[in-house]
Symmetry: C2
Subunit: 330 residues, 2 copies
Amino acid sequence: MIQKVTVVGGGSWATALVKLFAECGFREAWLVHNRALSDAIQQQGHNPRYLCFAPLKMEQIDVTVDIKEALKDSGLVIFAVPSTYLETTLNKIDKDLLADKPIAVSIKGFIPGTGCTPSRFISQYINSTEASVIVIGGPCHAEEIAHQRSTFVTIGGHDNELVQYLCRRLKNDYIKAIPNGDPAGIEYAFIVKNIIGIASGIARGLQYGDNFIAVLVSNAMSETSDLIYSVNPVQRNLFHSAYFGDLLVTAYSNHSRNATLGKLVGRGISINKAIQAMEMTAEGFLASRELAAIHTQSKIKMPVINTVYRILHQHANPYHEFKLLEEQLS
Amino acid sequence: MIQKVTVVGGGSWATALVKLFAECGFREAWLVHNRALSDAIQQQGHNPRYLCFAPLKMEQIDVTVDIKEALKDSGLVIFAVPSTYLETTLNKIDKDLLADKPIAVSIKGFIPGTGCTPSRFISQYINSTEASVIVIGGPCHAEEIAHQRSTFVTIGGHDNELVQYLCRRLKNDYIKAIPNGDPAGIEYAFIVKNIIGIASGIARGLQYGDNFIAVLVSNAMSETSDLIYSVNPVQRNLFHSAYFGDLLVTAYSNHSRNATLGKLVGRGISINKAIQAMEMTAEGFLASRELAAIHTQSKIKMPVINTVYRILHQHANPYHEFKLLEEQLS
């Protein structure tokens, strides 16, 4: 029985998680990185920077910048910061404060320069096993959660009792939580799909139509499948919403920031300017570099992901790269 | 070496095929069902009813209502009529005229009341084996072919030489043809995806958002996979554009007439009125009934398809059916 949940992060997704857990009856500590934001949320009853249209059940939420206070008596600590900030965020937290607490991550990118997934990075930091960390995700744009539109969240972990408990509690008119016993697999899927989202965006920016995007996405599913099995060769149902569902929502939704970044790049805007134009982190940008580095020697064919990598990190021309890519799709 | 191709059908997809084959250098006979249409196309250089914005290379195309003339010296006869019209179309054609000619079908629905795929129906009609009929399809909305946007077409058949020949010939700036040795499998996929397209449309009509649609479509992929393997249990790559690519383009494109039908129904418009409002056949409407009949005793779980069936054919309430469906998705 978890009385209090701690959410770490002040961005769009963290805000959606805070909303979600509050509306499912949890008491929460919400740890944000500066007092101005904490004060503003307390005063206004919503996050003025992200999902500002979504009122939060403030009577259940303590917003704070005080790490000790946020973690005190917490029954679950959820890290929901962009992957680039996880290391600095963890470095501020005394490891003892995290000891013996259930930890969850809801971060869809590698830790930069490490090729490490967030759950592995955290477990190494707290000297725990990777398997002890719970992974939360699925096809869930924060914007739609804010608007209370029907959303499936996946809770992945090996602690079956905790996973089942969270799934029972995270249930209301618009939220359904699905248990999953493959946290490593879904975490990898969460990361890869952002790169596919960028690919889909670039194609749209280049004025490819629905016919081609469908070929691109179905081929990208094949790459995703190969990658996930290479990382963790266990039997799984990739049609589960946490795998292909999340890939589809990123490749096809207008809410996808990764697809938006891709669209800008496909239209001929320079990578730096496109990144500046985005107000939020497009995790797929760095993920494509990490994944290319990890799989530089691997035998897995990943034409879509490598195309994104070359365009974003090697100044390759999107038009020419997609012409070459066309020849590799089936 | 095929000199002349015959396309049978006057609709949107037949028009796109005529355009495609002409632009890839084939001479064509285009068999339409009435002289007024034939005359109009000859005079105007395009089909005034469908894709009227797309000019056709009339110097290579003979539009005709004369069956004998259309089939004379034809090296490939492509049937591209709605599934409901295939039987009456065939009944008008002397079987001898089709004897020994390569036949292709590009029809994405069952023959009503038979549970028969178009290729099986034609092969029975001409007393040939089903395996001799070529299947043409893939994720290719006619509208995008008309606008010359990059499109992958699949040529499925067991006559490898003919399939490879057609793939070599059907290639230009915007078209790429992919060979496939599983005509029965892709034909089934072509039919099932129209029902998924209706499901996606109903969800949109009911105001579900991208988060849920992604769950719906990824679960529907699983149903599609089970169905295809039940029909023809051979190894295949479902990520090939002819299978999941075609499913995606139907579930996610605004061009999809099946999704449009679903959207109207989801918004509360009666089935009959929704069908009347559509100017083109939404193949998924009848296909859902045929498939429900075929699989009434089967052990395959098809919650998405059965939901569509109950809404379209048993007057079930879309809102309640989708609430029940939510509980069956993962």
